[in-house]
Symmetry: C2
Protein backbone atom coordinates (compact mmCIF):
# COMPACT_ATOMS: atom_id res chain seq x y z
CA UNK A 1 0.00 0.00 0.00
CA UNK A 2 2.35 2.73 -1.19
CA UNK A 3 -0.77 4.73 -1.90
CA UNK A 4 -0.66 6.13 1.64
CA UNK A 5 2.76 7.69 1.09
CA UNK A 6 1.80 9.07 -2.29
CA UNK A 7 -1.32 10.57 -0.78
CA UNK A 8 0.69 12.35 1.91
CA UNK A 9 3.21 13.73 -0.59
CA UNK A 10 1.00 16.64 -1.64
CA UNK A 11 0.62 19.69 0.65
CA UNK A 12 -2.95 20.32 -0.46
CA UNK A 13 -3.93 16.78 0.50
CA UNK A 14 -2.28 17.20 3.91
CA UNK A 15 -4.29 20.38 4.42
CA UNK A 16 -7.44 18.46 3.55
CA UNK A 17 -6.60 15.90 6.22
CA UNK A 18 -6.02 18.72 8.70
CA UNK A 19 -9.38 20.22 7.85
CA UNK A 20 -11.22 16.91 8.15
CA UNK A 21 -9.56 16.27 11.48
CA UNK A 22 -10.79 19.62 12.79
CA UNK A 23 -14.29 19.11 11.36
CA UNK A 24 -15.22 15.73 9.96
CA UNK A 25 -18.11 15.05 7.59
CA UNK A 26 -17.57 17.98 5.25
CA UNK A 27 -18.85 18.14 1.71
CA UNK A 28 -16.74 19.04 -1.30
CA UNK A 29 -17.84 22.69 -1.34
CA UNK A 30 -17.38 23.05 2.41
CA UNK A 31 -13.83 21.81 2.05
CA UNK A 32 -13.14 24.16 -0.86
CA UNK A 33 -14.28 27.26 0.96
CA UNK A 34 -12.55 26.39 4.21
CA UNK A 35 -9.31 25.51 2.45
CA UNK A 36 -9.31 28.94 0.85
CA UNK A 37 -10.32 30.96 3.88
CA UNK A 38 -8.45 29.13 6.64
CA UNK A 39 -5.48 27.56 4.88
CA UNK A 40 -4.77 30.16 2.22
CA UNK A 41 -5.14 27.70 -0.65
CA UNK A 42 -6.52 28.54 -4.07
CA UNK A 43 -7.53 25.10 -5.26
CA UNK A 44 -10.44 24.72 -7.62
CA UNK A 45 -13.35 22.41 -6.99
CA UNK A 46 -12.14 19.81 -9.47
CA UNK A 47 -8.66 19.85 -8.01
CA UNK A 48 -9.96 19.21 -4.50
CA UNK A 49 -12.25 16.49 -5.84
CA UNK A 50 -9.33 14.67 -7.43
CA UNK A 51 -7.33 15.01 -4.24
CA UNK A 52 -10.20 13.45 -2.33
CA UNK A 53 -10.20 10.53 -4.77
CA UNK A 54 -6.53 9.94 -4.02
CA UNK A 55 -7.11 10.14 -0.28
CA UNK A 56 -10.03 7.74 -0.51
CA UNK A 57 -7.99 5.29 -2.59
CA UNK A 58 -5.36 5.40 0.16
CA UNK A 59 -8.01 4.67 2.78
CA UNK A 60 -7.40 7.96 4.57
CA UNK A 61 -10.87 9.32 3.77
CA UNK A 62 -14.19 7.50 3.89
CA UNK A 63 -17.30 8.83 2.17
CA UNK A 64 -21.04 8.51 2.74
CA UNK A 65 -23.66 9.72 0.32
CA UNK A 66 -26.94 11.36 1.27
CA UNK A 67 -29.03 12.66 -1.59
CA UNK A 68 -26.96 15.06 -3.62
CA UNK A 69 -24.47 15.52 -0.80
CA UNK A 70 -21.35 13.45 -0.24
CA UNK A 71 -19.77 13.68 3.17
CA UNK A 72 -16.12 12.99 3.82
CA UNK A 73 -14.75 11.49 7.02
CA UNK A 74 -11.14 11.16 8.15
CA UNK A 75 -9.60 7.77 8.86
CA UNK A 76 -6.07 7.89 10.22
CA UNK A 77 -5.70 4.14 10.66
CA UNK A 78 -3.65 3.68 7.45
CA UNK A 79 -0.99 5.88 9.03
CA UNK A 80 -0.25 2.96 11.31
CA UNK A 81 1.68 1.42 8.43
CA UNK A 82 4.23 4.20 8.83
CA UNK A 83 4.66 3.95 12.58
CA UNK A 84 4.77 0.17 12.43
CA UNK A 85 7.34 0.12 9.66
CA UNK A 86 9.99 2.18 11.44
CA UNK A 87 9.01 1.52 15.04
CA UNK A 88 7.80 4.82 16.43
Amino acid sequence: MGDVFKALADPTRRAILDELQERTGQTLFELCTRLITKHGLTSSRQAVSQHLDVLEAAGLVRTRREGRYKFHDLDTSPLRTITDRWRL
Copy 2:
Protein backbone atom coordinates in the same frame (compact mmCIF):
# COMPACT_ATOMS: atom_id res chain seq x y z
CA MET B 1 9.20 20.63 6.24
CA GLY B 2 7.24 18.94 3.48
CA ASP B 3 10.56 17.41 2.43
CA VAL B 4 9.92 14.47 4.75
CA PHE B 5 6.71 13.55 2.96
CA LYS B 6 8.29 13.96 -0.46
CA ALA B 7 11.18 11.75 0.62
CA LEU B 8 8.81 9.00 1.72
CA ALA B 9 6.83 9.13 -1.51
CA ASP B 10 9.31 6.99 -3.46
CA PRO B 11 9.39 3.20 -2.93
CA THR B 12 13.15 3.01 -3.56
CA ARG B 13 13.80 5.57 -0.84
CA ARG B 14 11.58 3.63 1.57
CA ALA B 15 13.60 0.51 0.80
CA ILE B 16 16.78 2.47 1.56
CA LEU B 17 15.36 3.43 4.94
CA ASP B 18 14.48 -0.21 5.58
CA GLU B 19 18.01 -1.27 4.72
CA LEU B 20 19.60 1.38 6.92
CA GLN B 21 17.36 0.38 9.78
CA GLU B 22 18.48 -3.22 9.49
CA ARG B 23 22.15 -2.27 9.14
CA THR B 24 23.14 1.32 9.76
CA GLY B 25 26.37 2.94 8.59
CA GLN B 26 26.40 1.55 5.07
CA THR B 27 28.29 3.08 2.18
CA LEU B 28 26.80 3.86 -1.21
CA PHE B 29 28.06 0.66 -2.81
CA GLU B 30 26.96 -1.47 0.10
CA LEU B 31 23.48 -0.05 -0.22
CA CYS B 32 23.41 -0.63 -3.97
CA THR B 33 24.35 -4.30 -3.74
CA ARG B 34 22.01 -5.04 -0.86
CA LEU B 35 19.11 -3.24 -2.51
CA ILE B 36 19.56 -5.44 -5.55
CA THR B 37 20.10 -8.74 -3.77
CA LYS B 38 17.68 -8.39 -0.86
CA HIS B 39 15.01 -6.02 -2.10
CA GLY B 40 14.90 -6.95 -5.77
CA LEU B 41 15.65 -3.43 -6.95
CA THR B 42 17.66 -2.57 -10.05
CA SER B 43 18.73 0.95 -9.21
CA SER B 44 22.02 2.28 -10.51
CA ARG B 45 24.67 3.85 -8.30
CA GLN B 46 23.82 7.38 -9.38
CA ALA B 47 20.13 6.79 -8.80
CA VAL B 48 20.73 5.60 -5.24
CA SER B 49 23.11 8.51 -4.66
CA GLN B 50 20.44 11.00 -5.65
CA HIS B 51 17.90 9.26 -3.45
CA LEU B 52 20.32 9.56 -0.54
CA ASP B 53 20.63 13.28 -1.20
CA VAL B 54 16.86 13.62 -0.94
CA LEU B 55 16.78 11.59 2.27
CA GLU B 56 19.58 13.65 3.77
CA ALA B 57 17.84 16.90 2.83
CA ALA B 58 14.77 15.59 4.64
CA GLY B 59 16.86 14.83 7.72
CA LEU B 60 16.10 11.12 7.55
CA VAL B 61 19.71 10.17 6.82
CA ARG B 62 22.87 11.54 8.41
CA THR B 63 26.29 11.06 6.83
CA ARG B 64 29.83 10.89 8.16
CA ARG B 65 32.89 10.89 5.98
CA GLU B 66 36.03 8.83 6.60
CA GLY B 67 38.65 8.95 3.89
CA ARG B 68 37.12 7.93 0.63
CA TYR B 69 34.18 6.30 2.35
CA LYS B 70 30.91 7.99 3.25
CA PHE B 71 28.75 6.21 5.77
CA HIS B 72 25.00 6.68 6.00
CA ASP B 73 23.03 6.48 9.22
CA LEU B 74 19.28 6.39 9.70
CA ASP B 75 17.49 9.07 11.70
CA THR B 76 13.78 8.47 12.19
CA SER B 77 13.17 11.54 14.32
CA PRO B 78 11.70 13.62 11.45
CA LEU B 79 8.92 11.05 11.25
CA ARG B 80 7.64 12.52 14.50
CA THR B 81 6.17 15.35 12.45
CA ILE B 82 3.72 12.83 11.03
CA THR B 83 2.67 11.22 14.28
CA ASP B 84 2.42 14.58 16.00
CA ARG B 85 0.34 16.11 13.24
CA TRP B 86 -2.49 13.59 13.32
CA ARG B 87 -2.13 12.36 16.87
CA LEU B 88 -1.04 8.75 16.63
